[in-house]
Amino acid sequence: MYNLLNNLIGNEYVAAVIAAALPLFVFILPFALAAVLLERKVSAFMQDRLGPNRTGYRGLLQTVADILKLIQKEDITATDADKKLFNLAPVLVFAGCYAAFAAIPFSGAYIGADIDLGMFFIVAISSLVVAGILMGGWASNNKYSLIGAMRSAAQMISYEIPTALVILSLVLVTGTLSLHQISEQQTAYFWNWNILGGAGLGFSKLLLIPFMIVGFIIIYISSLAEVNRTPFDIPEAESELVAGFHTEYSGMKFAMFFLAEYANMFAVSSVVAALFFGGYQSPFGYLGNTLGISWLVPLEQFFWFTAKGMFFVLVQMWLRWTLPRLRVDQLMTVCWKYLIPYAFVNLIIVGLITLL
């Protein structure tokens, strides 16, 4: 994408800036707008309510109105808060989750930075989010914030382990860490998806299927925990901690946390989609290929990628409005006593199968 822009504009600085800003304006902001509305609507429908339906047609403009409201709001900093860190924290959190988007392959033609270590990079850069959350929680000088931040950090670090283990087992199958290549390998039909044993043929493909499903479940659960979604939302448990680490934040800074949270939701969903469900590959082949219109293919890929990402975001919401919150010790039990052992066993078995 950067190269394309570079050719188009002829100035590498401008091209770099545009390429870097593109996902934010083309994707993250509209997505967050849509996702917040979706979340409300989904929660409303699941509870047999109507949800917001006054602003715009059936409430479609609700989040726009909310954003306008947030922009107007006074930016409050508590007197005893640590001003510098307090102001830095939302930026850091947002930067962390925004950086993850650099490595996400939106389509064959658009991927922010096609780094070979894409998957590894995403896992690593999300630790910036942990630091930002700790910073915000500490700087707020508020017990709830601090406890929320601590819980959040502990949870994110713990759940990184099963995620990494599942990613490892996928690396054994695919032989690469680049999300772009992983997506490329799962060529354009759904039986080539990694969840169905990858693009290879033969006996080992069939053998892989159950373990891939286990891997998918593990990584999905831990990704839920990493983005602090219910049932793992103890860092912002309303009933205990007001709003967790962002209790003291208001106005635009709060909006940044909010945006980061929703962007993160999509990031982990799309990673899951890219790892197990073919990434941007269409499940049924491409219309563009059949019709011979080559520029249609990347657009289709973008569509499929967004659709898959959105589907998993939707499942996250579905889970959120289904399950109650776990207790802290239960949370740790799930991670250390269940997910990690299963992930290890899964890793070993997948390794053995790939050796076959």
């Binding site: 860190l85 630790s127 630091a131």
Partner: protein
């Protein structure tokens, strides 16, 4: 000056400035958080050197692991922020001597080494493959020994943590 130079100086500046804050900050929390930027800057420098794997590992291990651990330690320790960290000047002469010696050695190395100072090419292939290969062929013994060392440390930590439980 092309874009890589700018990025290099940016990262270098981040690293140096935040490292300076780490050692001079009175508040230990500030030190801990500036360490984040130091680590981050160093990761950026690694990327510019074409060592992508090391850069990501730097982020993952130092920012994601060690820094968070430090922060946890600092935050969980009661009243640690109010403790005055001593930053007076003691032992002036040995300090000057030590610093001069260290600086001399560093300058010697810096001038004496034949640096490959050409710009890193856009890495066509990730270094992960080469690193993995080396680790499991040439350095396999060291690799395994390190693994055992870490395991021992882990078990040790677990035993120390568990002893108290029995006593109570």
């Amino acid at each position: 000056m092309n874009i890589y130079d700018i990025v290099f100086y940016l990262f270098a500046a981040i690293t140096l400035a935040s490292a300076f804050v780490v050692v001079t900050a009175r508040n230990i929390i500030y030190s801990a958080f500036s360490l984040l930027f130091t680590f981050f800057g160093i990761a950026g420098l690694y990327v510019l050197l074409g060592a992508d794997f090391i850069a990501v590992v730097q982020l993952m291990v130092y920012v994601g692991g060690i820094l968070v651990l430090i922060l946890f330690g600092v935050m969980l320790t009661n009243k640690i922020t109010s403790v005055q960290i001593k930053t007076g000047t003691l032992q002036v002469i040995p300090a000057i001597l030590g610093t001069a010696l260290m600086a001399g050695v560093l300058i010697k190395i810096f001038t004496g080494t034949n640096w490959h100072s050409q710009m890193a090419q856009y890495p066509t292939k990730t270094t992960a493959y080469a690193l993995g290969h080396i680790l499991l062929t040439d350095y396999v013994l060291i690799f395994e020994l390190l693994g055992i060392l870490l395991l021992i440390a882990l078990i040790g930590a677990a035993t120390i943590a568990r002893k108290e439980e029995k006593a109570s």
